[in-house]
Symmetry: D2
Subunit: 269 residues, 4 copies
């Protein structure tokens, strides 16, 4: 996928690429500070980097969960991050009209896992000509993702990647099936979402739980089996984040992780 992104750095480094940023855009200053720090780290380890932030959370368990600081405002911040640092950016879309809207601000459109079977949304995303990342539904097999990928490529857009984020395992747990990574690489590059793979859904509180202490474990396995990219939500202080604090990586721990993963990457190429 990254060969299609003009403004991505370290394109030829042979390292994995990184999609990282806060779960949701909480403000301009915070977005810029996170991007700056991640760029410093990814430059050090020659990691191609795409800044990530949601402009709206559309599928929270509870109607009273925080959803956005403003849709346009968030998209403007994403654009500003991209322009300030000359890096590509990405956000997730939930409705057909979001595709053309978000495409004005970001370089990569992400389709959420629950929506990856919605043909019109995928086609709308594909038609923007932007890169499209498809999250594998927790209810889908790796093999079934070939049909989602086809919906993009049949719309004359070859710029597609798949994001793995775990499979339903009982009601309250997810397991990543690492066999799926080489399987899905037959169809498109594969990115491992270490943040959402560690979710513990269906908690009685209505707020999804997590096990962030396992981020390194989940990520190392992914890089070892050859994942093309990694998706990590990160925040300076996850415990005060407006969304998904349970799983985000503390920003000051990102460098240690990237250093370790770069070593694993070097061992397999």
């Amino acid at each position: 996928m990254i060969q299609y992104l003009e403004n991505i750095k370290h394109k030829d480094s042979k390292n994995f690429f990184l999609i990282a940023g806060p779960c949701i855009i909480e403000g301009e200053d915070m977005a810029l500070r996170i991007a700056e720090k991640v760029i410093e780290i990814t430059d050090k380890y020659n990691i191609p980097y795409i800044f990530k932030g949601s402009f709206k959370k559309a599928n929270r368990s509870r109607v009273d969960s925080f959803t956005t600081i403003g849709e346009e405002k968030s998209l403007e911040i994403l654009k500003k991050v991209g322009e300030t640092f000359n890096i590509p950016t990405t956000t997730d879309i939930h409705e057909n009209e979001h595709a053309a809207l978000a495409a004005q601000y970001v370089d990569v459109l992400q389709i959420p896992a629950f929506l990856v079977r919605q043909t019109d949304l995928l086609v709308a995303a594909a038609k923007t000509g932007k890169c499209v990342t498809l999250k594998k539904g927790q209810f889908l097999s790796p093999e079934a993702m070939q049909f989602a990928v086809q919906k993009i490529t049949d719309s004359n857009n070859p710029k597609v990647a798949i994001i793995e984020r775990g499979n339903s395992f009982g009601y309250t747990d997810l397991i990543v099936d690492y066999r799926g990574i080489p399987t899905m690489q037959q169809y498109a590059p594969v990115i491992l979402d270490v943040t959402h793979s560690l979710q513990q859904p269906n908690q009685n509180s209505g707020v999804t739980g997590g096990r962030p202490e396992l981020i390194e474990t989940i990520a190392k396995a992914g890089i070892a089996v050859g994942a093309d990219g990694l998706f990590i939500e990160t925040h300076p202080t996850p415990e005060t984040a407006l969304s998904d604090g349970a799983n985000m990586l503390r920003l000051d721990r990102l460098e240690d992780l990237m250093q370790k993963l770069t070593r694993v990457r070097e061992a397999i190429i």
Copy 2:
């Protein structure tokens, strides 16, 4: 839920209620003939009946699957069925704007399983004032459905029911957890979707498989544990249906099933 439907018959019969019809509206004549036959049967067994038909399939595995004979055309047929026989009708919606649109034609709006976490869609449906049925996602616990129900009731619409349709069990199978029926009845009436509970997803062909020979088994268990309603897709000739032929009940076998299930219902009330 059925207490809110003015034009439903057998409201006080104490029997379960039935949502039935073809997977997708294939034409006016066929829709009327199915409705007529189901009404004949449900009248015989005092079963409150709601006619069901999709006006569009939005989440097929493959982009080349059949999706609609025309959205407005299909909605007009649904309306005509309701008016011809003076019965309530229902269809499923996939985008926020579909809520107000479909509400002009049908009495009950159904939210698909994959979309049951999309807050805006649920709120849009609730705001029409119509009854709303929420399919439980294959990835959700019974307990988690309370939050989906709340999204409807918090929008000042008490007319809500839940449709059970099985849980992800490995990649290619679903299992109904009958413990979930009494659990979810704490939040709203529960309807068992025997058709989609028997799906076998993620088949390599990209076309969902099924085990229709088990419809009676799945349905009897549901009625025995006290499900309020049943959802069945039926077709005169499933093998020639334009969609989901693998699981629909042959229409001429519906009466035998209703007769058996009515006996089970009588045994538990």
Copy 3:
């Protein structure tokens, strides 16, 4: 299976049959009192009845869990129950030599779920000439049970039945797949174990949990789909039981359950 048991009552009643008793034999007096009470109820509803009690628990999570009041002592009590009331009895065996030993005391030998793939144990049980009940492993498909059944019948013993007790669903839950009941009836009569189907395994305490309030739900669904028999552990005071108190049915609630289930049975035959 019950056609092979000479001393079973109500053989021709067309009702389901019942295997019931305490999880483990705690003493003679208690065993006799439970049997007497269950006989009173099963006589009232024409239910063929087999008394059940383990003489030893061999597969507890923790080494400090209670296992037996004495192996021979427990087997003697089982024999006494059978002789006192002229009813068949059953117990579970865990080692090859247990087969011939237990066969001297009881009429039906039960193979535990974890051991149902141990060929030598199955063959040893079959060779006693006694009836053999095979618990379906939580890790086995209904179809796979045909091979376990064959191990009995290939040993020239046609007296075999299968006991369903749920499937692994994530780490801490089990789900009964009711589709499996008709599937397995192609190979042998099927008994639904409502007690262990409600277990919640792998609790952090090392003691298996449960949801006994769902016994009626689980049992009704089983009878509705045509299960041949039911397996229920019952105890006068489950909260003081020496083993598995979390799931046993309080003995004074058994009659209400049998009455309701008999009604469901009558509705399907």
Copy 4:
């Protein structure tokens, strides 16, 4: 675990250790040839090595599956392999009496996954004073293995390790949960069984299937997350093997795998 094995080589190499050999002992010549070849490879990469072979298959799906060339004969061959090359050996046991028997021939006793809850078997193994490896049941959580480990250590035997081999995922698949490796390392060293993790159980034929092309993927992820050891069944010609041909690694592909895994290991220590 390997610190307890006197005759193991490369003990201080910091590389992972390897348990490898044929599924079942098919003959002396073949056992010696496999051992010789694996030793040549493990010497090259400084991998501590334990020869593995079953002396009997006790839990085959079908009664007509091959089980042994002779129990004592197989054990003698295991002993001969150990003496010939001065390396430790291991085999799996299925009955309490097997513990003391096998302990006369091998250095490490392996408890099969289905039997890991059988207290008497674990205690019998522990009491031999030999190293004991416990296969995690497909139905057990990583956390639940602490109780199995305790059954060994409470018998005054500290020489225990855990073997991961995947979790039930639907009826016909297994998934390795790599989060479980660091979890179980809190209790004992953890070995990843790449052969059985790739099984596809409950095939309609009654013969377990597999996906051996994924051995490298499964193994790399295990080494990357820090597994202490690896378990691999290997055979010169898997397609003619007497047992489990579907998943064994072709012996001539072992060196390439060890070379790659050693590189991953070096990247994480």
